[in-house]
């Protein structure tokens, strides 16, 4: 009898040894998208890529949800927190107000927010130097324009998107002091029709290159550029493939990288919260690979972009940041 018990005990222990690391090694991650949702080929899709990369490479369990509207953000945050997930990632500043409350109500749940900061110990804030990346595409636009007029289409007129605008304007003027920059805001991140309208109107006013920082709204900007024969510059994800030859480049923002990194920290057990900044140096922001437009752009322009990049890193160029 004693022997049997011992045997059973050993077996139980063995099974436990085999099973337990499996459980311990599979953190559960929940991700809540911003408005616009999946398929924007921009901001949200970048977050999705990071999530899927983490699923494949780190073996984490993932669930995600696309909120139908801004009023739903808090409900989803609470629901994921209730599930006791190891990390709840929320995409976009639009989540901030709700997260400020929810993260206090659930002090034992780890949260991460992309694009804004929430100063609670259980929140990791993932922010980017969008103004610096936008400066680089501003330099490109300033040198490539033939009409000395370029355009900027923003999503909502909030400080975050102003950051893109200011960087773009400064970059364009740095490269070409005579350039005029037309600026319009669509008022939404999920309205491609409005994006198309604004881009066409800017083109009619002389802009031959239009940069958008408008998420899903921006796909309308790119469509308009392709249909009317002017250039567009994409944002967040590499959007060059959306209209090859029309999208000069994209101001790629490493949302995927940030999402992956924060999940990795959870998987490694090293997550400590705080603010994580991603900039030009670490590849957090920058230009795309120019896969379709290499032959369109003179080498001198590439040199100017590289030069500006080096000067921003060295501190010789300081791009204004409307948030500071």
């Amino acid at each position: 009898m004693q022997k049997r018990l011992g045997l059973i005990l050993v077996m139980v222990l063995l099974v436990g040894l085999i099973v337990s690391p499996v459980y311990a090694a599979a953190p559960r991650i929940g991700l809540i998208f911003a408005e616009g949702g999946l398929g924007d080929q921009s901001f949200n899709d970048a977050a999705y890529r990071g999530l899927m990369q983490a699923k494949e490479e780190l073996g984490v369990e993932v669930i995600y949800v696309e909120p139908a509207d801004i009023a739903e953000m808090e409900e989803h945050q609470r629901a994921y927190a209730d599930l006791g997930l190891d990390l709840v990632i929320v995409i976009g500043f639009i989540h901030k107000s709700a997260l400020e409350e929810v993260s206090v109500d659930y002090p034992n749940i780890n949260f991460a927010i992309v694009d804004d900061t929430v100063e609670n110990p259980n929140v990791t804030s993932l922010v980017f130097a969008e103004h610096e990346g936008s400066f680089l595409v501003g330099v490109l636009a300033g040198l490539m324009t033939e009409t000395n007029t370029v355009g900027f289409v923003g999503g909502m007129e909030v400080p975050l998107i102003r950051k893109f605008e200011v960087g773009f304007v400064e970059g364009a003027k740095y490269a070409n002091p005579d350039v005029e920059v037309l600026v319009n805001y669509a008022g939404a991140f999920d309205d491609p029709g409005r994006g198309r309208e604004l881009a066409v109107s800017q083109n009619e006013r002389g802009a031959d290159i239009v940069y958008h920082a408008a998420g899903g709204t921006g796909s309308g900007v790119i469509d308009a550029a392709a249909a009317n024969g002017f250039y567009a510059i994409g944002v967040d994800s590499d959007q060059d493939h959306m209209a090859p030859g029309t999208v000069l480049t994209s101001m790629v923002k490493g949302v995927d990288m940030a999402v992956f990194e924060v999940i990795k920290a959870v998987a490694d057990g090293t997550l400590e919260g705080g603010v994580w900044s991603f900039g030009i140096v670490d590849g957090g922001v920058g230009t795309s690979e120019f896969n379709y437009t290499k032959d369109l752009i003179p080498q001198s322009v590439f040199d100017a972009i590289e030069d500006a990049k080096a000067k921003i890193i060295s501190g010789e160029i300081v791009v204004s940041n409307p948030l500071q």
Binding site: I63, V65, E66, A68, D69, I70, A71, E72, E74, E75, H76, R78, A79, Y80, D82, F93, I94, K96, S97, D105, D116, M156, E157, V158, P159, L160, G187
Partner: protein
Amino acid sequence: MQNRTRAIRWQEMVTPLVAVILALAIGAGFILFVGENPLAAYKILFVESFGSLRNLATTLQRATPLMFTGMAVAFGYRAGLFNIGAEGQLYIGAFAAAWVGFTFTGLPRLIHLPLAIVGGMLGGALWGSIPGYLKAKLGVHEVINTIMLNFVALYLTDWLATGPFHGGSWVPETARIKATAALTRLYPPTRLSTGLFLALLAALAVYLVLWKTKQGYELRAVGLNPHAAEYGGINVAKNTILAMAISGALAGLAGTEQILGLHNRFIVRFSADLGFMGIAVALLGKNHPFGVILAAILFGALQTGSAAMDRLTAVPRELITIIQALIIFFVAAEYLIRRILRMKEGA
């Protein structure tokens, strides 16, 4: 006579029920079509909306604003007016309630909360009475006016909440209301609030006004036949304005409840078509306040269940939107259902 009324009542209940069942059946076909199991999907839908006290609370929370907007549309309909402007009246009411909520400080709750509620009601009533006045005095059709005023309300509150009353965060929203203006949460951490009781009270009030008062009789008479009502000595213009004001006040209360009970601040475009959903709710609820309550709970459940479905499974929530649309379709196609049931008026 008694039997006849009873038969009609019964029939009025049957059409929405059949519509819901038909919509679910066809929805099952769609779910099969996208390669999911309809029974499993409906089970999640049901469990996540009614399966626990907590889920039930979320369902009721989502149903509350629809009760108000549904009643707003139903009230207008009873007076012969098609109020498509509930969305706009909701925004104006919501902003007014939020404004009262964050502007006044140091008031006791007993004064502050009712003040904010009345503020929201008045905001909606004012916005609703504009098309009422235009219809009564100038004969401008209320459908055009209410639709157009939706845009005015939307952009006006956009501007107010991002301009003069912006709260300072990046989110386009106002400052938070004071705690003294907030409705009480009934079952935390869900966000169901005492706004639900307000909605039930409003339903009772609407019922009493419409069917138990002289004023209500006048309103309904105008709705049934304005010319006959006028001939009978009823002031049609006055009743038109009044009906739109009350309808607007109910829509304003929907916004008020959302701000004081749920968001505790005015968020730009928070409504997500609650006002337009109200049209569907009124239709399904047969333009009766008690029917509206039931219809709102059904729609609240569908929304709660579909949000959870989206959160937990791969079944796209658009499927639930299709089912909602089908329900409305079948209620609107009442004649079709009657034919199916071989029911004749009064049989």
